[in-house]
Every structure is written in structure tokens, then in C-alpha cells.
């Protein structure tokens, strides 16, 4: 795999306002790269710099080793095609004529379109399903049809790279999937490199191999969708709370919005709750409490643990320890700090071994400091004690000192909400 496009230290200013600064990235042949970011983060500007419609203040864009700002438009158009957001063609060209214009970069000034050109155009139109209406006027087309025609025209250019600027922004979801499935098909079938500016994070996560998250003209994060689309990144760049789950089929990150309105309604009974869990024992409770508007913290959780993942996807602050490692004294201390900052502590029925015994000690610490401690679904600790009785001892102490066992989720919620402090 060789590098198709290389953007080096690109900066662009518009009327002396910086729009892009120090943008660096590479796109490999056959990659699908998504550019995401809030409005005004410079996504479209970046795209226009990549295809030399705008001249950057400094930096370079290398297309297969050639500086794009020194290439003629015709040369650029021979290897790079663009599908814009929405296009209105004000004159009465037929669909076929409009797609044939994609051959212009390959034709000499007075060269007429030949058999080869007609073959390429026909193929592009068949792939995009617009051959059937080739004789209609482009002015009569619906939004989805028009976008397919524009895509056909881009394909008729026989490009190495195709740039998309929110190609489905004005289309309904059926057209969105249609267009993107098509693009993915071409990407796989023809090894076409794709760079797409996208608004829809889920679409971006689902169809792109890599993502660039832009923030105020700089690359905030670049990587795979899993690396880029995280609660923290989205919160930081978009300033909005989201939760992230997995797309049920493709397993790519799936972003759900959290309407602010919910915060307002539940604020009155919002509590600070610290959860001690692990192994997935706390996940469903965390989700429930989160949606009830509680302010949650969790700890100590091992990185990669199911509960850790849930906490991350919900954007819950937690103390984390390396995967499969003993909880260190340092992390334990952090955990105690979180407990001190909470109103109550919930302990879930995770198995205890030597590695996480300190979590149980943390719960004991909470009880001793007179924090309300609830043991949720606390089925017999002896069955999940892998410390030779040590955990069971601490458990007994907990109960003796006033930790309450509550097996029922709604009961637990009611108690937490009722409690005055």
C-alpha cells in the first residue's frame, strides 16, 4: 500500500482569520477517510485545500508525489473527482450529457468523445443506477437521482481519489445508505480512495476506515472510528454529552444524543453516587442511574473490563487500573477520594479475588466514614470469594456496620431518591 495523498503542515487563513492550522495527515490508496467536526471547524475548507480550489497560507498537498498546487486543473481532475453537497444545474442538459462532462479532463481541446469515453460513461451510469433515465433533463431530477448523476460524473473522471462534501446532507435515509453503500462498493471493487466530509457521526463510523476529528481548524484526533469517536472526544470538540454504544450489526461506535431537557427535569433529585463494581456487574445499574440523571463515578475498574467500557461510553468518571492487574495503592487512594466526594456508594456483586480486594476495603472505608452504602444484588459472597475467606470477612463487617442489602433495582432507586441530605 502506497501513500495516495499527503497533507503536510497545511494552514489556511480567510481574511486574516486562521481557518486551518498545521494540518498533517496521509491517506493510503484504497482508504476511506472521514473528516468530522462541528460547524465551522474547517472541514469543507480542508477539502477545498486538498483539491487546490483554495490556496493555503503554507504547507503542501502531495498527490502521488506531485505538489497539487503546481498541477494544472486538468491534471488534478484526471485523478481527483469531487461530489459536492448539492448541485443545481440551471440549464437543460440531459443526464447523459451531464455525465459525459466527466470525460472533459481526459479530452484534448477539440477532441470529440470517442467509443472509450462512451463506454466509461455507460459503466459509471450503470453502477450508479442512472442509465435508465439517461435522456431525462437534469433539471427534472429528484435530489437522490441528481446526487447519483453527480456521482456517475465523478466516476466518469476515472479518478484515483474521490472527495465527497457531505454528499447526502439533503437526502433522506434510504438515499443516504444507497449512496454510501455504492461508495463503499467502489472503494472495495476499484480500490478507490475516498475522502469524505461528514456531518453524521454514525454514518462516518460505519463507512470510514479512518476518521479525522477537526476542532477549530486543527486535527483533534486521527485514527480508527473506535479511537476517534469516544465520549470524551465528542464532549470536548462538540461540547455536547453523548453516549456511545455499538452498532448492532457492524459493531462500529454508535453515537446517541442525550437531550439536555432530561437534565432539567431530574436535577432536583440528582445524587452523587459512587459505584464499586467490575466484571459487568454494575453495567445495567450504571445505565439506569445515568438515565435517571444521577451524577456517577466508578472505581476502581480495570481497563477493558465490561463495566469500564460502559463507564467510558456513558462518559462516567472513573478510576482505572491496567488490564488484569492488582489495584495499586495509588489508584485505591483515588478511589477513596471519589467516595469522599459522593453522597452514597453502591457495591455490586462482582467476584472478589486478591486483585480487587481493595475495592471491598474501599466500601468498608465508606461505611466507617458514615456514607450510606448499598449492596446491590448481593447474592452470597462466599460463592464469589476467591480470596480464601478474606472477602467474606470484610463483607460481614460491611453489613455489621450498616451497609444495606437491596436486591431490587427499583427499590434501590427509590431509596436513593428519597434520601434527604
Amino acid at each position: 500500500m502506497y501513500v495516495n495523498l499527503k497533507v503536510h503542515d497545511l494552514s489556511f487563513t480567510y481574511q486574516s482569520l486562521p481557518v486551518l492550522s498545521g494540518v498533517n495527515f496521509e491517506v493510503k490508496k484504497g482508504d476511506v477517510l472521514g473528516i468530522i467536526g462541528p460547524n465551522g471547524s474547517g472541514k469543507s475548507t480542508l477539502l477545498k485545500n486538498i483539491n487546490a480550489l483554495l490556496k493555503p497560507l503554507k504547507g503542501s498537498v502531495m498527490l502521488e508525489g506531485d505538489n497539487i498546487f503546481k498541477m494544472s486543473r486538468q491534471k488534478i481532475a484526471q485523478s481527483m473527482a469531487v461530489v459536492p453537497q448539492d448541485t443545481s444545474i440551471g440549464f437543460n442538459f440531459s443526464v447523459y450529457e451531464a455525465v459525459m462532462m466527466g470525460r472533459v479532463p481526459h479530452l484534448g481541446r477539440f477532441q470529440k468523445e470517442g467509443e472509450d469515453d462512451r463506454t466509461v460513461v455507460k459503466e459509471s451510469m450503470e453502477v450508479t443506477n442512472c442509465w435508465s433515465f439517461k435522456d431525462r433533463s437534469v433539471m427534472e431530477l429528484s435530489g437522490g437521482e441528481r446526487q447519483r448523476v453527480i456521482l456517475a460524473r465523478a466516476l466518469a473522471q476515472e479518478p484515483e481519489i474521490i472527495l465527497l462534501d457531505e454528499p447526502t446532507a439533503f437526502l433522506d435515509i434510504s438515499y443516504q445508505t444507497e449512496i454510501f453503500d455504492l461508495i463503499k462498493e467502489l472503494n472495495i471493487g476499484k480500490n478507490l480512495t475516498v475522502i469524505a466530509v461528514l456531518h453524521d457521526l454514525n454514518l462516518a463510523a460505519q463507512y470510514c476506515d479512518h476518521l479525522i476529528l477537526l476542532n477549530k481548524g486543527e486535527i483533534y484526533k486521527i485514527g480508527t472510528p473506535d479511537e476517534v469517536i469516544t465520549v470524551d472526544n465528542i464532549q470536548e470538540v462538540y461540547g455536547t454529552k453523548v453516549i456511545i454504544s455499538k452498532h448492532p450489526v457492524s459493531k462500529t461506535p454508535y453515537v446517541s444524543l442525550l437531550p439536555r431537557i432530561q437534565d432539567k427535569f431530574v436535577k432536583a433529585i440528582s445524587r452523587k453516587i459512587h459505584i464499586i463494581g467490575g466484571g459487568g456487574s454494575a453495567s445495567s445499574l450504571m445505565e439506569e442511574l445515568f438515565f435517571q440523571g444521577m451524577q456517577l463515578t466508578a472505581g476502581v475498574l480495570n481497563v477493558g473490563d465490561k463495566d469500564w467500557e460502559t463507564a467510558k461510553n456513558l462518559g462516567i468518571g472513573c478510576t482505572e487500573e491496567l488490564p488484569f492487574s492488582f489495584l495499586s495503592g495509588e489508584k485505591h487512594g483515588e478511589n477513596l477520594e471519589m467516595i469522599k466526594n459522593s453522597d452514597s456508594v453502591i457495591l455490586t456483586n462482582t467476584p472478589f479475588g486478591r486483585g480487587n480486594l481493595k475495592n471491598l476495603e474501599a466500601a468498608l472505608f465508606a461505611v466507617e466514614k458514615n456514607f450510606p452504602v448499598y449492596i446491590y444484588e448481593g447474592f452470597d459472597v462466599r460463592l464469589r470469594d476467591y480470596t480464601g475467606g478474606e472477602a467474606a470477612d470484610i463483607f460481614q463487617k460491611l453489613k455489621d456496620k450498616g451497609a444495606r442489602e437491596i436486591a431490587n433495582k427499583s427499590e434501590l432507586l427509590a431509596i436513593i431518591k428519597d434520601k434527604n441530605d
Binding site: 483539491n51 480550489l53 494544472s72 486543473r73 486538468q74 491534471k75 488534478i76 481532475a77 484526471q78 481527483m80 473527482a81 469531487v82 459536492p84 448541485t87 444545474i89 440551471g90 440549464f91 437543460n92 442538459f93 440531459s94 450529457e97 451531464a98 462532462m101 466527466g102 472533459v104 479532463p105 481541446r109 460524473r153 473522471q157
Partner: protein
């Protein structure tokens, strides 16, 4: 697609036919047969075929008065149509034509200044009038274009407004110059309202180089013009050097307009009506639209000019008045029927 050569051939044939027929129209009653005879008798090598049986004044009427007039009419009509088609494509605006966007007024002012200088300073630079008209056209165009531009597009509304404003201003300047011109006022006036009377071969030769240069340039870049219709950014993405093509086209169209205005004054709406009508027949592809419009426009204007010569004979109506009579309603029709597209 395969119709295109036939349309062109048919129009060439019809153009030749129209030229002959309109040459026979006039105050002096000369029959078509005689017109043919006179023309053939002047073709080197064919002279011996024809026996001269007509008064020698007819020679002068046909060869020195009617023929240059018909030729000039054809050239003017063709040129205005080419310029109109180019402006419409370039500005992506179906209401653009040299007259509505003020380019004709600019050319007229340039030419008026040249004539004014000639008469008041007793200078003669006949050949320079088209050049002055061209300068005037370019300057007016630059003003209108920059006034009308909103971002990267030239919306219809602002284009028409800017055209009207610049035209009125330029007309005022022309009127002032005419007042100052004193006894020459009548000559300038008749030229200005758009007429082809009293034109001879020297006028044809004077403007022909400008028009050929401009038309060749427009034809040369006509495919680029097609792509620019998709939008300037799109065109750039399809490999067109948009800014370069735009400049060449604007200069070429202004050159043509300047040349035409300098001999025939302001003949309005030809550049609007003809490309529009032709587009309905052959579609928007400039490679066919431009030559077809040229033929169509030429034919249109020689017939209109014949009407101008005869409708109130022996008084001759300036042809610009007739084109305005026919063009203004068409313009209104376009405005109303396409109101939606223009976001009024």
C-alpha cells in the same frame, strides 16, 4: 445528436436564401431574377454568362447599398447572438444579453466619445471607433459584474439591477455628449437607436476582424462554457481553468459587442431572444448552440431590417426600435414564466 449537422446545413441554406430575398426588398423595384443576374455578373469568370439589360444605377443599389447592408445585418445579428449566448452561459443567467447587462451602453458611450472627438476636433480615426466601443464595453461590464456579484454567483436580480443602473448612467453621459455635439446630434442619434441604413462595405470590413477574433475565441472555449454552466467550482473540479476562461470569454464577448455597437448602435434583445429560442431547439451545449444561434440571429436580423425598411416606407424605421418592440414582450414573458427560478 445526429440532427445537428442537418440543422446547421438547413440554416446555412436558409440564410443564403434570405440574403437573396432581402436584397430584392427595397424602395427601388428590382426583381429577384435581376438581383441574381447582377450578382452573377460580378463573379469573376461568370461575367460572360449574363447580358447586362438593366440600368447601371441598379448595380450601385444592389452592390453598394443593399448587399453591404444585408451582409452587415447578418453579421450584426449573428454577433449579438454569439455574445448573448456567451454572456448567458458565463453568468449562468438566462436573462443576460449585451443590452440588458449594460455592455451595449458601455460600447455606445465609447463609440460616442470617439465620434464626438472626431467631429469636434476634426480628427479621423474611423478604424478606432470599434476599439473605443470595445473599451467602453469592457469597462461597463467590469462595473456591472462587480456590482451584481454576490459571493461567487451573479444572481439574476442583482445583475438586472446593476445593468439598469449602469445603463441609465451611461445613457445620461451619452445624452450630454450629444447635446455638446450640436449640429451632429442627428447623426449620433440615428446611429444610437440602432440602424443599418447608409452602411457600406467599409463598415463590414472595419468590424469583421474584431468579430472573427471574438467568435473564434468563444467557439474555441465553448466546451469549457458547457462545464461552467454546472457552476464555477464544479468546473474547476472537472479540470477547467475557470478564471482564465471567464476572462477570455468576457473580453471576447465585449469585443464583439463593441464592434457591433460601433456600426449599428444599440440593437436590443437580439442577444437575448435568439440564444433562448435556439436552446429550446438544440439544447444547451454551446458547441452547437453558438453556431446555430449565429445563423439564426443573422437570419432574424436581416428579415427584421427588411421590415424596418418597408413597414413605413419611404420612411425607414431604425431596426433597434423594431427589435425592442419584439424583444421587450419576450423579455417580460421570460421574467414571468421563470419567476420561480429567479427567486423573485
Amino acid at each position: 445528436m445526429s440532427r445537428r449537422p442537418f440543422i446547421i446545413l438547413f440554416l446555412i441554406g436558409f440564410a443564403l436564401f434570405s440574403m437573396v430575398v432581402t436584397t430584392t426588398i427595397g424602395v427601388a423595384d428590382i426583381s429577384s431574377i435581376d438581383v441574381f443576374k447582377i450578382i452573377i455578373s460580378k463573379i469573376p469568370g461568370l461575367t460572360f454568362l449574363i447580358e447586362q439589360d438593366w440600368p447601371s444605377t441598379w448595380d450601385t443599389i444592389i452592390l453598394q447599398m443593399r448587399m453591404p447592408r444585408v451582409a452587415l445585418g447578418f453579421i450584426v445579428g449573428a454577433s449579438l447572438s454569439i455574445a448573448g449566448a456567451a454572456f448567458q452561459g458565463l453568468l449562468r443567467n438566462p436573462l443576460a444579453d449585451p443590452y440588458t447587462i449594460g455592455v451595449s451602453s458601455g460600447a455606445a458611450l465609447g463609440a460616442t466619445i470617439a465620434m464626438f472627438l472626431q467631429t469636434s476636433l476634426n480628427m479621423t480615426f474611423q478604424i478606432g471607433i470599434p476599439f473605443f466601443a470595445f473599451l467602453g464595453a469592457i469597462i461597463a461590464l467590469a462595473f456591472v459584474y462587480n456590482l451584481a456579484r454576490v459571493g461567487n454567483t451573479v444572481p439574476v436580480v442583482t445583475l438586472l439591477l446593476a445593468g439598469v443602473v449602469i445603463s441609465s448612467f451611461l445613457s445620461a453621459v451619452i445624452s450630454l455628449l450629444m447635446l455638446l455635439a450640436g449640429e451632429h446630434i442627428r447623426g449620433i442619434y440615428f446611429w444610437l437607436v440602432g440602424g443599418l441604413s447608409l452602411r457600406n462595405w467599409s463598415h463590414v470590413l472595419m468590424i469583421l476582424p474584431y468579430i472573427i477574433a471574438g467568435s473564434v475565441a468563444i467557439m474555441f472555449w465553448s466546451r469549457d462554457l458547457n462545464v461552467i454552466l454546472l457552476g464555477e467550482e464544479e468546473a474547476a473540479n472537472l479540470g477547467i481553468e475557470v478564471e482564465k476562461v471567464k476572462k477570455i470569454m468576457l473580453v471576447a464577448a465585449s469585443l464583439i459587442t463593441g464592434a457591433v455597437v460601433s456600426v449599428s448602435g444599440m440593437i436590443g434583445f437580439v442577444g437575448l431572444i435568439i440564444p433562448h429560442t435556439v436552446r429550446m431547439i438544440v439544447g444547451p451545449d454551446h458547441r452547437i448552440l453558438i453556431p446555430t444561434s449565429a445563423l439564426f440571429g443573422g437570419i432574424y436580423l436581416i428579415w427584421i431590417d427588411s421590415l424596418a425598411r418597408t413597414v413605413m416606407a419611404p420612411v425607414e424605421v431604425p431596426v433597434g426600435i423594431i427589435t425592442a418592440f419584439l424583444g421587450a414582450p419576450f423579455f417580460i414573458y421570460l421574467l414571468r414564466s421563470k419567476r420561480k427560478d429567479f427567486r423573485f
